[in-house]
Symmetry: C2
DNA sequence: TGCTTTTATCTCAACGTTGAGATTATCAAG
DNA sequence: CTTGATAATCTCAACGTTGAGATAAAAGCA
């Protein structure tokens, strides 16, 4: 059964037959983008339900999963989030105002700013993460588990080839 | 070899062992999001090289692959692009100013606006698409073709289960 | 010690998207 | 016809991100 990407590839094949042999990457990358859009949109709704922006959820998540003392530099956060420095500064500003994180400048290197999850941030996050994972599971409810595993493994191979480094 | 998502899943398993069994969707959706980010960022650069925004490239692409007469309604474009109506209006405004598309209100249903690719838009697009596909191929250059095919098929199954309808 | 380069974060204006509401047109009854 | 409901697009203020430049601290080197 054709999906949206099959349609797109079919349309291009007709319109530009000379490019037919160059369309195969779209089958993979186009679908990854499409799936990511659905997942993003869905995750955004879950986060909003708990009163945080999508990007803020990302920061909370990165901090909590980093484990005690739930503290990372602004630089580590922007790399993990794949956004620019301006975006991280803004997110931290907003989150600090909400009491979710706090900036700590300690002695070692005074250029860096340590961002620490507050107990309130910790609390909010523990509620969101369950919802978030349940939502993700719901999205994939109709897909058999082996397809998920196999596809995830394929994506891992692709990301490795792309040089997507481990985070630590 | 672990990738960024393996690291994330590992961190969560340690921090919240009670959620260990609920992390499997992240293996798939997290990687899709990550791959999509790389692809998006790369596509954005290609489009910029030709003087168009990422979203504008999306519109050009949708119009051209739709085939003669290279005309779609604003509504069709916003569905294809998965964005809101405001975004499409703005994109069309900008693109019309650049001479890439033109609004045509013909008689049938005067609520709708037909967006038509101009000859200039056509020309710009034919240059971009080759670059774009070459860039996509370059991204996947180090991945063996069968992995791509297998993974793309897996993603199609997931998208179908999500109800991602064919576009026409 | 002094000078330059590099690193980390913040500042801020420009930009694109969102999302609710307004506008205008069509359709379905009555 | 007229009314009410539905549909398609546009308007616009609020919002988050980008990206270049500024600031300040640390590291490299003479």
């Amino acid at each position: 059964m054709p999906d949206a990407i099959d349609t797109i590839v079919g349309q291009w094949s007709k319109e530009r037959p000379d490019l037919a042999d160059a369309l195969w990457p779209v089958q993979l990358l186009g679908r990854a983008q499409r799936l990511a859009r659905f997942a993003d949109k869905s995750a955004k709704e879950i986060a909003a339900k708990h009163g945080v922006e999508h990007g803020e959820f990302d920061v909370l998540s990165t901090l909590q999963r980093s484990g005690p003392p739930y503290t990372l530099t602004a630089g580590a956060l922007l790399k993990a989030a794949m956004v620019t420095s301006g975006a991280i500064t803004n997110r931290i500003d907003r989150m600090e105002a909400k009491g979710l994180v706090e900036r700590v400048r300690d002695g070692e290197d005074r250029r860096t700013v340590q961002i620490r999850l507050t107990s309130q941030g910790h609390e909010v996050m523990s509620h969101i993460i369950s919802d978030h994972l349940a939502n993700y599971a719901r999205l994939l409810a109709d897909v058999d588990r082996e397809t998920c595993t196999r596809t995830a493994d394929g994506l891992r191979a692709v990301l490795e080839a792309l040089g997507d480094a481990s985070l630590r």
